[in-house]
Every structure is written in structure tokens, then in C-alpha cells.
């Protein structure tokens, strides 16, 4: 009787080890194997994407090249095709587009951001989870005001807000306080913005982002939020806080 085949967790662990050793091809292959065996595993997908980002930055200048992200996009495309009901695979597929944005030109960034929204929407249609609603809602806020998408973002973030109020407090809940306030600000509702930031600060009194927002007004606040929502900056799409939060 031969040795038992390694479990997805074991394969994934080997992938993490290889990524730590900067053996990128091995790392990505192992993580893809793990994901194929457990396509809806949010953590596998997230760590896989982080390895792709780390590889791109390690091998190329600045944020990598657009080509650096083709492998993960192709992989997720196939993964959701093979597993159309895996809401977390769709979510990670959308994040893979977001990961590519800083490496792309300004027009391509628009295309990538829009395509990411499409994948997030498919995830929400399958299962409207807190993370999916927060993610899509926050993504809408990166669009300039002229496109009128901030209102859509507020709608998603209000749903995520209601969800988290019904749950035990988690460290990542501060994100919705921040983003929902930003959404209110972006839809010219400054009083509601300050109210939700204040409420968030009561829950998370050490949060610097909330303190900064509440300490600023007018153009200073606008510049601060514009800077926070600068599409040229890499968005941290690492989801590990979801499983490490207490």
C-alpha cells in the first residue's frame, strides 16, 4: 500500500514554503494544485495571489509588468469556469485583476478595475458575503466622481455594515467604517461620513486612518481621501486578516 496522497493543506503548505524561498514557479504550481482541489478556499486563493504579486515585484521594477499577472488571471479564469458556483474563487478572480492594476497603463487600469467589478458581482450573486460586499463597495470608491459609482459603493458598504453589526466585533470591521465614511464623503454627505468615522473610532480608538479623517476638513480631507483612493498605488488585497483576526 503506497503513501497517502498529500492533502490540499499539505500541498498549499509546500507552496507557502517555496514562496518563502522565492522558488516562484514551484510555489505557484503547488498553490494552483491546492486550489484545484479546494477551489472555494479563500485563503489559498489569497496567498496564491500574494505570491504572484511578490514574484512580480521581485523580478521586475516597481510593480512588475502586466505579463507578470497573466498566469494568475488565466488560472482563475479556468478555475471559475470549472467551478462556477465557487463564490470565493470569483472573488479572488476579481482581486487578481486588482493586483494587476498598478502594473498597467492608465486606460488599462480602467478596464481592469471594471472587469474586477464584474467578477466581484458574480461572487455576490452566488453568496453576498461581508468580504464580497465590502470589496465591491470599496472598489466603486476608486472611480472618479464623474462616473457616479460612489453611490453604488455606499449601497454595498451599508449592507456590509449591517452584517458586521450583527456579528461579534472583528479587527477588520474597521475597514467598513472607513470606507463607508469615504463613500458618504464622495457622495457629498459629509455629516454622515463624520458620523460613521466617529462611530468607528469609538470601536477602534487606535485607528490612525479614522483619526486622520476626523482631523481634516475641506480640501485637506479631500486630498487625504484622494490619496487613499489613488488607483496608481497598490491596493493591499491580502485577505489574511479574515483568518487571523480575533
Amino acid at each position: 500500500m503506497g503513501a497517502a496522497a498529500p492533502s490540499p493543506d499539505e500541498i498549499f503548505g509546500q507552496g507557502i514554503q517555496a514562496a518563502g524561498d522565492k522558488d516562484w514557479d514551484k510555489a505557484l504550481s503547488l498553490m494552483e494544485q491546492a486550489l484545484a482541489a479546494d477551489p472555494n478556499n479563500l485563503r489559498y486563493g489569497s496567498e496564491y495571489r500574494q505570491a504572484v504579486v511578490s514574484r512580480a515585484i521581485a523580478l521586475h521594477r516597481k510593480e512588475g509588468t502586466p505579463q507578470d499577472f497573466e498566469r494568475s488571471l488565466n488560472y482563475f479564469e479556468k478555475l471559475v469556469k470549472d467551478n462556477p458556483n465557487a463564490e470565493n474563487a470569483w472573488l479572488n478572480y476579481g482581486f487578481a485583476y486588482v493586483d494587476k492594476i498598478p502594473a498597467a497603463g492608465s486606460i488599462t487600469q480602467v478596464i481592469l478595475a471594471n472587469t474586477a467589478l464584474t467578477q466581484f458581482s458574480k461572487s455576490i450573486a452566488l453568496k453576498p458575503t461581508w468580504i464580497a460586499l465590502y470589496t465591491r463597495g470599496n472598489s466603486y470608491l476608486y472611480w472618479p466622481r464623474i462616473f457616479g459609482r460612489a453611490g453604488l459603493g455606499v449601497a454595498d458598504l451599508e449592507k456590509a455594515f449591517a452584517m458586521q453589526k450583527a456579528e461579534p466585533k472583528k479587527s477588520y470591521h474597521v475597514r467598513v467604517y472607513t470606507s463607508l465614511g469615504d463613500g458618504y464623503w464622495k457622495t457629498d454627505n459629509i455629516e454622515k461620513a463624520q458620523a460613521v468615522w466617529n462611530e468607528g473610532l469609538k470601536q477602534f480608538p487606535d485607528n490612525q486612518g479614522l483619526k486622520d479623517r476626523l482631523s481634516k476638513q475641506g480640501d485637506d480631507l479631500g486630498a487625504y481621501i484622494d490619496n487613499a483612493l489613488d488607483p496608481n498605488k497598490r491596493v493591499d488585497t491580502n485577505l489574511k486578516e479574515l483568518w487571523t483576526s480575533r
Binding site: 478596464i111 471594471n114 464623474i146 489613488d230 488607483p231
Partner: protein
């Protein structure tokens, strides 16, 4: 970024606040401009070309860049004249003769240079250059079509000599420069071409627009033409190493970027990467883009070249699009002195000028540090905005951007319109402070070109700002408290007579500056050939050295302040 640069920028953060309040080189100037186009008789209205047919509106939008101005003293009377282009069918170009006292008369028709906007051609740019070294400025008119070369016959008359010149190749040209790339004493010509060479008036294919909006490779590239003498030019694009460039070139700039005495070239490209080529000294160039600046995805619009920090190495300024919906940032390429450049636009405060077009360096307050003027704005029209319409196109899955049928008409919509122009004061080479409103240049026209000159010879730099579908603006410098200055008019003998490519190194008041004579740097504009130096409170330039394109280096004695000096190669200062 080199350790040197990191150290320097570290210091900026410490001193930027208080230093903004100080005067440079003893100069406490109030930079001010008065717009005097109407009084001066220089207020030509530009008209973009109107196309017939179902895609005419889109073609008009994509060809709306042809408002340009070129400064040159065509009659050698010591006063710079101005050629201003128009673009719509049948509309005349303008040759504004400088009558003195800031009065101008349009003599284009009499001179024989008003034409060019025929049914098959759109005038887009123009440059003055003395191609036959006869001492008179000739005129090259670039077009979406074939160019027109006018020989200056003297007595205010020009003769169309295109037929015998060799300039017979069709191109959708948007920019032209004249420079002597092989240092043979004859000025050569490079054309920057936007579209590939398709006749836009008789489309044989619908796929004429950029195939990618960040990395397009289906543009017109450039063509290089070697001056053979005798009024004849021959194309050397492939031989010189430019044949592989197929980008959407919007502007060209030349300069000796590596201080080897040979002219190098920077190409600003829309919809994709700019390119930099270094001169191999044998009639060929090498594409050094990857190492020197890296590949970008921006919408390059302008190339101007100057040593903004007076370190003896030429830097490059490129405008891009930085607007509410697109945050590209301009590029101020600081020369690292090793064949590479570092973009310091953010650190210097020159990153955002909205939808940028032309930009020109010049010492506007004569403090010894070159300031910067940038024009911007694409289309100021009705309240409806074209951007959401474009984004619907862009985000449509599988759309082919190159297919003109996919682009919606713009109609009366505005696209990055009503933008305030940007003037920046150079703060001792460390950074720049925006002074547009206080300088009186924060107009909101749809700017395209800048042509700079000292049209009244008062030692202050004036401007023409061309605008698409709007009147040109003529800014007369009325700055108070400006520093002293010196200007040099160079005449080559072994070198090309215009001395394009000559470098002047001047020391005054403890500050050493360089200028290079250029043949049309800056989008849609050619500025005065004379080299202008501000020298602050200094009463003279203590040392002046000229490196001619021939390689000869000539040292002059001291030069008194506030003077225009004529230098002939090999003869030094002449009366």
C-alpha cells in the same frame, strides 16, 4: 535613483519651506504677463479640420492638435517674427511680421506662405531653419499630408521648393524639428507622425485609431531626413535606427543628453511609451529607452529640454494627462549623468498640469534658474462630458479601439476643457512653485503650442500661446524686479549657420548655466533661436564658452549685462 540624488532630495524636504520666501541670485521679481494679442495685431483664430462622412466627428477630434507657432527673424531685422498655423480646409496660415513696439502685421499672403490647408492636407506644425546656410530663415510647414518647404528668397518673399527637396513622402505629421544629427554642417529634419500614413480623407480601412490606449504600436513613428546640400533631402529613417518605432509620436526633442557633442533624440508618444535614442556618431542612433527611462504607458505630449538645476546636464520635460479621471503625472526627467534619467516631477511640483500640451522652459525673471510654462486643455464645449461616454467604450468587452466605427461622436461635449494654464517658478533648481494666477497666465483656453521669444528685445521672455479652435494669446512680459540678462545670437561657419546644437556655457554671479540652441523643441512651437540667460544682479557674465556642433570650442571674454551678443564661429563676438 542614485545615492547622490537621494541625498539631494532629502535636503529639499528640509529647506523647501523657508527657501520659497527667498530671492534667487538677488532677484525679487514679480513675474507678470499682459495678454496683448488684439493690440499687437496677433490674434489668429485657429480652426481644426472638419471631415465629412460618418466618422468625421471622431477624425476631427483625433486631429485637433495642429495649432502651432514658430518664431524666427525671417527678414534679419533683429526683431523676431512669428508664423502661426491654421488647420481647416482653405484657412490661411499667418506670418506676423514684427513691426517693432510690439506691433505685428500678417504678411503671409504677400510672402507666399499662407497656403497648405488643401482638401487633402492639414497643416499641423512649422519650423524655421536655414537649410541652405544662406543666412536667411527658410520655412518648413508640416502637415497631415506631405510637407511644404519654402525657400526664403529675401525681400519678404518665399518660394515653394518642395518638389525638388525630396520631401515627397506622405505622413500624418504632427511635429517637426531641424537639427544636425551627423554634424556635417547641414541641418537635417525629423518628422513625428501621429497616425500611420493612411489618407484620413479617403479611408481604405476603419482600423486607423490606436490599437491599444496604453501601448499602441500602430502609429506613424518618425521619419528622419538627411540634408544632402543643394536643397535636397533623403530619408534615412531605417538606416539611422528609427525604423522600428511605430508609436503615435506627438512631439520630438533633441539635445546632447550625454555631453558627447552629438545630438540625441527624445520622442514623446501618445498611447504608449516614449523613446530615447542616443547618437552613435556615425549617422545612426541606438534605442536606449529601457535602460535610460524605462517603458511607460502614458500619453506623452511634449518634449522640452533644459538644464533646470544648472548641473551642466540637460534634463527633459514631458507632459502627460493628469486629470480627475486619469492620474498619469508629467515626467521631469532629471539627467543622472550616466545615460539614465530619474523622473522627479512629483518631487519638484511639476507632476500635474491636467491635460498637458506644450511646455517651455525659460528664465522668466532672469534669476539664473529656468522657469516653466505649460498649456493644457483638450476641448471646452457644452456641459455634457465625453469621459463617461469614452469609458463605456473602453470597458466594453472585446472592443477594438483601432476601429473608428467604435468611437462615439463627441458632438458638443466637453473633454478635459476649461483648464487653467500652469506657470512654475524655479526655486533654485530644487523645486518649482506654481505662480499661474499671479503671473496672469491662468487662462482656460484649449492650449496647444508655446512659442517663446523676446519680441521687443527688452530682455524679458514673451510668449505666443496657440489654442485649438480659439484665438491665439500673446503674452507680453511686464515683469517687475527682474534680474539682468544676456542673449547670444550664434552664426555657424563650419557648423550649420543656425548653430542648432551649439552649447553655450556661461558663468555669472557665481552661477554656471548652459543653453543649447534647438531646432523646434516643445509641442507645436518653435521658440527664438537666440540663447537667453538671466544673470540676476551680476553686471556681467564672467566667462562664456561656446561648443559648436563642429566640435570647435570658443571662449569669449566677459560679456556685459543686458546685451544681445552676436557670435560667429571662429571669430568670436562681432558687432
Amino acid at each position: 535613483m542614485s545615492q547622490f540624488r537621494q541625498r539631494q532630495w532629502g535636503l529639499v524636504g528640509l529647506i523647501a519651506g523657508p527657501i520659497a520666501l527667498l530671492a534667487w541670485n538677488g532677484v525679487v521679481a514679480q513675474i507678470r504677463y499682459a495678454e496683448i494679442g488684439a493690440q499687437a495685431g496677433l490674434n489668429a483664430v485657429h480652426h481644426t479640420r472638419r471631415f465629412s462622412g460618418p466618422h468625421g466627428d471622431v477624425l476631427r477630434m483625433f486631429t485637433s492638435g495642429g495649432a502651432s507657432a514658430a518664431v524666427g527673424d525671417y527678414d534679419n531685422d533683429g526683431l523676431d517674427d512669428i508664423f502661426v498655423t491654421d488647420s481647416d480646409a482653405g484657412k490661411p496660415n499667418h506670418l506676423y511680421h514684427n513691426d517693432g513696439h510690439m506691433k505685428f502685421t500678417d504678411v503671409a499672403a504677400r510672402a507666399g506662405v499662407a497656403g497648405g490647408n488643401d482638401a487633402k492636407s492639414i497643416v499641423s506644425d512649422a519650423i524655421w531653419f536655414d537649410y541652405d546656410n544662406d543666412g536667411r530663415q527658410d520655412l518648413l510647414v508640416a502637415r497631415f499630408g506631405t510637407p511644404i518647404l519654402y525657400h526664403n528668397e529675401g525681400h519678404g518673399k518665399f518660394r515653394d521648393v518642395t518638389a525638388g527637396s525630396g520631401f515627397n513622402k506622405f505622413g500624418n505629421t504632427i511635429a517637426a524639428i531641424a537639427f544636425d544629427y551627423d554634424n556635417d554642417g547641414l541641418l537635417d529634419v525629423m518628422f513625428g507622425n501621429y497616425f500611420k500614413p493612411e489618407n484620413l480623407f479617403d479611408l481604405k480601412t476603419f482600423f486607423v485609431l490606436p490599437n491599444d490606449l496604453d501601448n499602441a504600436v500602430n502609429g506613424g513613428g518618425v521619419t528622419l531626413w538627411k540634408n544632402l546640400g543643394g536643397g535636397r533631402f533623403v530619408e534615412t529613417t531605417e538606416k539611422a535606427g528609427f525604423g522600428k518605432h511605430t508609436g503615435w509620436t506627438l512631439d520630438l526633442g533633441h539635445g546632447d543628453f550625454d555631453n558627447d557633442g552629438w545630438q540625441d533624440v527624445y520622442l514623446a508618444c501618445d498611447y504608449g511609451t516614449d523613446r530615447i535614442f542616443f547618437n552613435n556618431h556615425d549617422g545612426t542612433f541606438r534605442d536606449a529607452t529601457e535602460k535610460a527611462i524605462g517603458f511607460d504607458t502614458k500619453k506623452g505630449m511634449n518634449v522640452d529640454v533644459a538644464d533646470y538645476d544648472n548641473d551642466g546636464w540637460l534634463d527633459i520635460y514631458v507632459t502627460n494627462i493628469t486629470d480627475e479621471y486619469m492620474k498619469e503625472c508629467n515626467m521631469l526627467w532629471h539627467n543622472n549623468r550616466d545615460g539614465t534619467f530619474t523622473d522627479v516631477s512629483k518631487e519638484t511640483g511639476t507632476c500635474s498640469t491636467l491635460w498637458g500640451w506644450a511646455a517651455k522652459f525659460g528664465d522668466f525673471d532672469n534669476d539664473g534658474w529656468q522657469d516653466l510654462f505649460v498649456v493644457n486643455g483638450l476641448r471646452s464645449a457644452g456641459k455634457e462630458n465625453y469621459i463617461p461616454v469614452v469609458v463605456n467604450l473602453i470597458t466594453k468587452p472585446g472592443v477594438d479601439f483601432s476601429d473608428i466605427r467604435n468611437w462615439p461622436d463627441i458632438g458638443n461635449m466637453t473633454w478635459s476643457g476649461y483648464q487653467k494654464k500652469k506657470m512654475f517658478r524655479n526655486q533654485a533648481g530644487q523645486d518649482f512653485r506654481e505662480i499661474s494666477a499671479e503671473a496672469g497666465v491662468d487662462n482656460d483656453k484649449d492650449g496647444r503650442g508655446i512659442a517663446m521669444g523676446d519680441f521687443d528685445n527688452d530682455g524679458l521672455l514673451d510668449f505666443v500661446q496657440t489654442n485649438a479652435d480659439q484665438p491665439a494669446l500673446f503674452y507680453h512680459a511686464v515683469t517687475t524686479g527682474a534680474g539682468n540678462w544676456v542673449q547670444f545670437r550664434l552664426t555657424g561657419t563650419k557648423s550649420n549657420r543656425d548653430a542648432i546644437g551649439a552649447r553655450i556655457r556661461l558663468t555669472a554671479g557665481g552661477l554656471t548655466q548652459i543653453r543649447e540652441i534647438d531646432g523646434g523643441n516643445g509641442y507645436a512651437g518653435q521658440s527664438m533661436r537666440r540663447a537667453h540667460f538671466g544673470i540676476g544682479k551680476a553686471q556681467k557674465a564672467e566667462a562664456v564658452e561656446i561648443r559648436w556642433p563642429s566640435g570647435q570650442v570658443e571662449k569669449l571674454g566677459s560679456v556685459t549685462a543686458n546685451s544681445v551678443n552676436h557670435v560667429v564661429e571662429g571669430k568670436g563676438l562681432v558687432p
